[in-house]
Symmetry: D2
Amino acid sequence: MDNYPLNIGILGAGGYSGREAARLVAGHPKLRIAFATSESEAGTPVSRIARGAEGMLMRAENAPLGECDAVLLCLPHGESIKWAERARAAGAKVVDLSADLRVRTPQTPAWAREAVYGLPELHREKIAGADLVANPGCYPTAALLALAPLIDEELIAGPVIIDAASGVTGAGRSPKKDLLFAEVAEDFRAYAVGNVHRHLAEMRDQAVMLGGGGAPELVFTPHLLPVRRGILETIYVPLRERVESPFRLWENAFAGEPFVEVMDDRMPALADVVGTNRVAIGATMVDGVTRPMLLVVAAIDNLVKGAAGQAVQNLNLMFGLDETEGLL
Amino acid sequence: MDNYPLNIGILGAGGYSGREAARLVAGHPKLRIAFATSESEAGTPVSRIARGAEGMLMRAENAPLGECDAVLLCLPHGESIKWAERARAAGAKVVDLSADLRVRTPQTPAWAREAVYGLPELHREKIAGADLVANPGCYPTAALLALAPLIDEELIAGPVIIDAASGVTGAGRSPKKDLLFAEVAEDFRAYAVGNVHRHLAEMRDQAVMLGGGGAPELVFTPHLLPVRRGILETIYVPLRERVESPFRLWENAFAGEPFVEVMDDRMPALADVVGTNRVAIGATMVDGVTRPMLLVVAAIDNLVKGAAGQAVQNLNLMFGLDETEGLL
Amino acid sequence: MDNYPLNIGILGAGGYSGREAARLVAGHPKLRIAFATSESEAGTPVSRIARGAEGMLMRAENAPLGECDAVLLCLPHGESIKWAERARAAGAKVVDLSADLRVRTPQTPAWAREAVYGLPELHREKIAGADLVANPGCYPTAALLALAPLIDEELIAGPVIIDAASGVTGAGRSPKKDLLFAEVAEDFRAYAVGNVHRHLAEMRDQAVMLGGGGAPELVFTPHLLPVRRGILETIYVPLRERVESPFRLWENAFAGEPFVEVMDDRMPALADVVGTNRVAIGATMVDGVTRPMLLVVAAIDNLVKGAAGQAVQNLNLMFGLDETEGLL
Amino acid sequence: MDNYPLNIGILGAGGYSGREAARLVAGHPKLRIAFATSESEAGTPVSRIARGAEGMLMRAENAPLGECDAVLLCLPHGESIKWAERARAAGAKVVDLSADLRVRTPQTPAWAREAVYGLPELHREKIAGADLVANPGCYPTAALLALAPLIDEELIAGPVIIDAASGVTGAGRSPKKDLLFAEVAEDFRAYAVGNVHRHLAEMRDQAVMLGGGGAPELVFTPHLLPVRRGILETIYVPLRERVESPFRLWENAFAGEPFVEVMDDRMPALADVVGTNRVAIGATMVDGVTRPMLLVVAAIDNLVKGAAGQAVQNLNLMFGLDETEGLL
């Protein structure tokens, strides 16, 4: 194959998802790091974050966007969109890991409306044909894969409660007092309570895309866990009717999916998924309540399936590679 | 006062709640440890678990039940009830930290039906007159203090979801593979999913005591946190109608309570309560849903307000002491 | 007692040692917080950091230095000395928790040379008569209490190796990338290797004060532990001759000391001291080496005996209070 | 190659090193799991511990030793040797991860004296020709790689102090109270103090093999870290003379070694090696002491380079495969 490895630029390689992206690209048999940027670490070797990689981290403004096949944007929300535009203008495909392209607003420019929502298990074909992909948020990835079969089967009878907990890398690598070891260890707390987290709009938009007018209302409470990686979502779903062996819903919906693990005998834990690109899903009916309620638990690694791994999965699709390449 | 210190026997002082009870009694100005038992550590000094305490740990069968004013039973569920009976027969008051006396079944013997449910903020007067107290479970303590004002005001309009997480000391000190550091660290998992946890019956019984036929249905999912101590419960309550400034409900219901902290500007975290006998409660309406839903967060230290601290609070009441003695 | 409570000002109450100092003063029966400063949290209630305390955090420049009996300086190294001078000029006694007054250099001004090194177990009388106390560093506190009896008995025959590990609160509360939970958890590393840590000069000066020309050479390597609090020092001491029952050296040297716990059957661990003002010390001869070598292990809580607790112990001495008041 | 994959039996696949071995063999391009044993988990799928592996865990007594090319013995010390004998009798090559074959005593039977000490960086050729390999202990692996160049160059002038810390998986997966999360978290402690750890004999034997009569005396203190994996050793070496740029010693001794990383600008941390088969080594002269002293820091993952990874590295050598196969 003359065209391999493909050249991938990584913007924002100093943060947690950027470093994970750099590692995955460096270890991928058909991709290589064309360049990697970090404003705070420019001038240090890329090999510090991705063993074996060549060259030095550079500032984004010096990035040779035109010399790569695709870029992964691992930049802060709000900063990403302008680099998406530049990279597209330079002819590179784009996977944007920020929230900038995930939710369309009246202000979203026309070119950005072309962005495909990069959840391969739900939108594989569109992604394969896309040049611009909005990589899903970590919480929405787990929630949408947990809810999609229930929406699809029109089983949901009321507001869905998504009680979620994430490791600290989900909050980024900027030094903040709240994220110091001495503050996080031995603690656990809810944040963005009362349905005000940014990821809610993304979940709702996507739920409507899946279910139209029948999309459920969503209630979402994230918590900060004293762990480095991983998201666990415990989801309460009022059902139209009792379902036997509910795990079958996901087994059927995701048959053959390489990155979906349906558990038929227990619920997933972080330890089942950390370090992998998998989502693990389990489900059980709730005993002792009058109206049928289903409990679903979904787990992912927020930096892999919830960020950089899914981005590479999208790249694989966009370039016609085996979807699992570099991810097993 | 000639009668102080009161002599307190501690059965099961080798576990986490037993050790915490021993420490609290040893540091209490009006109580002293009369004896402490541990089957596995009998023969070692009590001072190993409670600095400054005298004597040696003994086996329960050697405990001089008749020589103490009260006993704290920190024994495994199922073993406690026989010691409660013996201690009562020997004339000692009893606070039972196990589940044995909390839920009445047709098999509960007559003498055990006298047990008062030891949640002082809800049953202070009964406790003050009791000789036999069933110390509440850790999860029910937080849940019932969070729900009592809502039940009392008849505000609840549907099933209540209690999504809870506990530190590992809640699972006891018996060596189990699941509780090894290498298994728990960096992990997070739900357990007893689908409404099958033992504490549910206790919560339901007590909810019915508070609300009669209007008591809400409860859905309860506990999770295991990689922390040593603390319980955080995130509770979703469908309401009959929207409530403004919901924290006022707890401020009113618990005005003057020394161990209830109502937060009006943020939600409680474990760090607010670990090491104390307090429950911290916060509440907010959920945005963006059609039918009113209230989010309540409650936090306690599972070994203090959820076990040994509440037991001492009960002892204080049973012996006419200041309720906060030894607990601030 | 008409004079109690004494009014204590706390400068730098937003950091870890400052917050610990505020908690200890607020809970002390004969001290009260006169004021507390924090540049970054000025305007928020002092009760946020010390339950029950009154008033608001203020900026240091607004601190009424003249209205308090003493100040605790919990400021960054280099900033503290000017506040020590101002507080002395305003008539307040001073305990400085920074390094500024611990080591005398040719540049140290005359007034600052009056500072007494505040290690009560070694310099109790001087501290009792002092108005200006340099509170020892956390690593030196443990090291000097471990070494003092050996220096005193002239037992040391060669360079002493102090291999130490500290919890992250020892590194302060300023947000730094290196101290984020995701960086520290599951890691362990040496820092300031090769005998270049600031605390070495302090240890050496004090060792010379104790041992004169016979003071041992010191080799010191600190490590960063993934825990919040605590210092453990494993110390290797070449001896002139083998010592039987070496723990007796500390038992004799520190007989009656309320905050020194000598272990005769095992070595101390962090869990023995965290949350207390104690130092725990154990010692054993090393088997299988030609020349006699003693292993000493010493543990303290870096924020209590290593900072704020020792500062309060010093205040107790300076004001003629019981040395243990507010510290048990 | 017709002969691949080679069939590897794993005895003791339920412990931490056994599970790591199963994962590495399952993911190795030229090895496969022939069988895996676990007394406590017999009857459950091997895929639970090594994704993608086939078959069920069995009891060791049922293991078809004759049907595999080699066995990895991940059994408790003392139990391993009899399985080594049986496997040899059945014609399988053996890598023993226990301590049973590492140190020769007068009781060691003749066949066991053939065991080659499996530290490839020091004994590559012997391993390549061996049928029976004693896989080194975790602490000795790091210590010997740190000391070998110094012994070789005859630079050591006195007793060497090895102050070491290990994550909890080093203590095995048997449920013990001491290893519960609630005991280990936020703690740090020395154990086997005074030069009594089993690994010392192994280190000494090997040091003598390397240095003959000039082998240094060793002082070794292990500590238990609240992390899951990783060993860091901070080593103090009295030198005959000062060495400039001491890292060069390891660069020269281990030039081209795929699993040795010499750091020339900082000291290694656990985070540099966890999850890899590498040892990372840094060194610096100690300032401010009269007689030259070198500080060396070495880090490995105790389950990989300290156990299962090194075992696979040995298998690769024994079967003429690329030494890094399945390990990068």
